[in-house]
């Protein structure tokens, strides 16, 4: 057992998978010599050679397209998109090629591809280094989407992603890269893609979140427990696609109330689907309106520091939203 940051755990997962399986390779901008702008791949080129940790041109479309081709050729590529903000040039490759390959070939071809991308705001990144993109891809059947909020999950889920026979988008909350620390087993373990994790048990209301917001929600839940005696259950969704309906419904069946937290802009965001599941299949368990705490419907996360803080949900805002809903 080692205490690791989120990014250490991600690096450890790639290191272990590359050691385990010679088909695994990494490509992306600055992943090789420089070790990635966030140092996620630091030391891996030196350890596994330039043929397995490949610096790519500044062209996301080709990074993913090369990954898809390599995957079809039975390799296990890990493509790094330097910031999720820049994944859009590769949208066609991901949605039209990677996601549909298995279906349109009637199960004959598959794309065992992992795409890693740091996402999210709060790091003074401004318009093009703060975006959340999960909602775009969560609408696409054929993809899997994973967002870890703890180092343990980051390592276990990334290893599962690399071993998955189909494309997995692995979004990393970059504000938590060094801010989130936790125990990580040195063993070769995996965390299955699919099930949500109950990060904190509670009986007064359920809060659903993922990534940095899941981390913040646990802090907020402890705060309201201490200050207000509110016992909030925190569900870290961690796999966004496929969505763990059962855990969502089970939690609200117990608590009767649901708050969904995501830092993405509000309208048509991922939390809307969580709300819809509860309205569809959990209607008779609801004891309050389903609430969302989100970023605002403005074109981007602002660069100005005060405006960025205004935009981003944080533990205090989450605690306020919990109190409001608990009092309903």
């Amino acid at each position: 057992m080692t205490v690791m940051t989120l990014i250490d755990a991600i690096r450890a997962a790639m290191d272990e998978e590359m050691a385990r399986d010679p088909r695994v390779f990494i490509t992306g901008e600055d992943v090789g010599v420089r070790g990635g702008v966030f140092r996620a791949t630091q030391g891996l080129q030196a350890k596994y050679g330039a043929a397995r940790v490949i610096d790519s041109p500044l062209a996301e479309l080709s990074i993913v397209a090369i990954g898809i081709g390599a995957a079809l050729a039975e390799l296990r590529p890990i493509c790094e998109i330097q910031f999720a903000d820049f994944i859009h040039p590769a949208f066609n490759q991901i949605v039209n090629e990677a996601a549909k390959m298995y279906y349109r070939s009637n199960g004959q071809w598959r794309v065992p591809l992992t795409i890693r991308a740091p996402y999210g705001g709060g790091i003074a990144g401004g318009l093009y280094h703060s975006q959340s993109v999960e909602a775009f891809f969560a609408h696409v059947p054929g993809l899997k989407i994973v967002i870890p909020s703890t180092p343990h999950d980051a390592k276990g889920l990334l290893k599962s992603a690399v071993r998955d026979p189909n494309p997995v988008l692995f979004f990393e909350p970059k504000k938590g890269y060094r801010a989130i620390k936790g125990d990580v087993s040195d063993d070769d373990y995996t965390v299955p893609i699919g099930p949500a994790r109950i990060a904190r048990e509670g009986r007064d209301l359920s809060v659903f979140a993922y990534g940095m917001m899941a981390h913040y929600t646990v802090i907020a839940a402890e705060k309201v427990a201490r200050e207000n005696g509110i016992d909030a259950e925190v569900v870290d969704l961690r796999t966004l696609l496929p969505i763990d309906k059962e855990s969502i419904l089970k939690s609200v069946k117990k608590t009767g109330k649901a708050l969904i937290v995501y830092e993405d802009s509000r309208t048509m965001g991922y939390g809307a689907e969580v709300a819809a599941i509860l309205a569809d299949d959990g209607f008779e368990t609801l004891d309050a309106p389903i609430r969302r705490l989100t970023g605002y419907d403005i074109p981007a996360v602002p660069f100005n520091h005060d405006m960025q803080e205004f935009f981003m949900p944080n533990p205090d805002k989450i605690a306020d939203a919990i109190r409001e809903l608990a009092g309903y």
Binding site: G256, L259, F283, E284, T285, L286, D287, A288, R291, R292, L293, T294, Y296, D297, P313, K317, I318, D320, A321, E324, G327, Y328
Partner: protein, 445 residues
């Protein structure tokens, strides 16, 4: 640029307030800090000053409405600025996040009996009458937890035989088991499980305890319904809660006031020169502070973990108002001499009658005194002001014939009662308190 006027939090545990009067109307010009409206809560009535100068553009909460703290009451801005007709300003609506929800719902609607899906399902399953369940949610809404608690209590009180008893040993309840006579007497054979009046949720929530069950007014009885004021409702809730919470015990002593009267006669003038009206209440407050130091268990509060002895002595003195009563608190009485105590009582009583008390001035009491003698009462057993442990009642002073040293004497006497919470204090301690009080007053120099 507009400024929102928000319902403030007037003291701890005060969660809502009633707009009693707008001092400005829509369109009126207003200066910053000029009185804008009057608000009445459980505990105080107060004026709210304008937080900005300009024009009162829009009033969202009309006089007479009760809303939660944080609710948007009105908007002040520049003349001609436009705000929405029925809703808060557009900017607020679009930009305010969920955690500021109360401000978005400008006018919370009083609970209208609507049920959430889960409460509706549980009520149907268990055939519950929700009107009889104490709602602890917003605006008195019956929450899922309220129903669960109710069912749990119901289960505990249920006299149903345990499962060990075979069915044939249990009394039957269906139509089959009813005699024909019973059956015809009660054509509605449905034995609906109606909810019983709430019995013990009192310790859980001291905010919204309804004084249920209230019998419906039978038709044909002529009369007039006086709506409950916030104060009337608060008094009712508090009295019921207190009687449910503490086993009240009262002990009565007679006190000879000769020494006090003599002292008062000698010092009245000099006190008056310092602007203080020296009342008998001041002597009782001072003497009670001494007695509380002797019996600290009466300056305490009950908790499930133990008896919490409070360090400072803060005595509340009940003041009758036209439509109720209020109990301003004299803080740190143990630090005050007679002059200080008398001055504090004068000041608080005057401002209580003028409704100018601040919220914190009616909070934090550790003991109470009620001077019921002013209306001619000889003896009374007042109700404890929770979460305090004791309350002192002072009866009317009158001259009585007393036997002293086998001689008949005429003395000014007062029946004084101590009502205390028997969970915290036993009779001996109550009497020690009263003996200390009596000795202090009878030996006043």
């Amino acid at each position: 640029m507009t400024t929102q006027v928000i319902m403030p939090q007037l003291g701890e545990s005060v969660v809502e307030g009633t707009v009693s009067r707008w001092l400005k109307q829509e369109g009126d010009a207003i200066q910053e800090f000029e009185p804008l409206l009057e608000i009445s809560t459980d505990k105080v009535d107060t004026e709210i000053p304008a937080s900005a100068g300009g024009v009162l553009l829009k009033i969202y909460v009309q006089a007479g409405q009760t809303v939660e703290r944080g609710t948007l009451l009105a908007v002040i801005g520049a003349a001609g600025e436009i705000v929405g007709d029925d809703s808060p300003p557009v900017t607020a609506q679009h930009v305010l996040p969920t955690h500021q929800q109360p401000a978005v719902n400008a006018v919370p609607i009083a609970y209208n009996g609507q049920m959430t899906p889960v409460v509706a399902r549980m009520a149907a399953e268990h055939q519950l009458d929700l009107a009889a369940i104490n709602g602890t949610g917003r605006n008195g809404r019956v929450t899922k937890r309220d129903v669960e608690d109710y069912l749990e209590r119901d289960g505990i009180q249920d006299d149903a035989p345990t499962d060990d008893t075979p069915p044939w040993e249990r009394p039957g309840s269906g139509d089959l088991f009813k005699s024909t006579v019973d059956y015809e007497d009660q054509p509605q054979t449905e034995t609906a499980v109606t909810a019983r009046p709430t019995e013990s949720p009192l310790q859980k929530s001291n905010v919204d305890i309804r004084v249920h069950p209230v019998e419906a007014i039978p038709a044909g009885i002529d009369g007039e319904l006086i709506p409950l004021t916030a104060m009337r409702r608060a008094i009712a809730n508090h009295m019921v809660m207190s009687k449910h919470t503490s086993p009240h015990v009262t002990t009565v002593f007679e006190i000879d006031m000769s020494a006090v009267l003599k002292h008062r006669e000698a010092h009245k003038e000099s006190f008056a020169k310092q602007g203080v009206n020296l009342t008998l209440t001041a002597y009782f407050v001072s003497a009670a502070a001494d007695a509380l130091q002797t019996v600290p268990y009466l300056n305490a509060r009950w908790t499930d973990d133990g008896i919490y002895l409070v360090n400072g002595i803060h005595i509340g003195v009940a003041v009758a108002l036209d439509n109720g009563l209020i109990v301003p608190v004299i803080k740190n009485v143990h630090d005050l001499n007679l002059l200080g105590a008398a001055r504090a009582i004068n000041d608080l009583a005057t401002r209580a009658r003028e409704k100018k008390l601040k919220p914190e001035e009616v909070q934090g009491g550790t003991f109470s005194i009620t001077n019921h003698g002013v209306s001619g009462s000889l003896m009374a057993m007042p109700i404890i002001n929770q979460p305090q442990v004791g309350i002192l009642g002072i009866g009317m002073m009158e001259k009585r014939v007393k036997v002293i040293d086998d001689m008949i004497a005429i003395r000014p006497c007062v029946y004084t009662s101590l009502t205390f919470d028997h969970r915290v204090v036993d009779g001996a301690q109550g009497d020690t308190f009263m003996m200390t009080l009596k000795r202090r007053l009878e030996g006043w120099v």
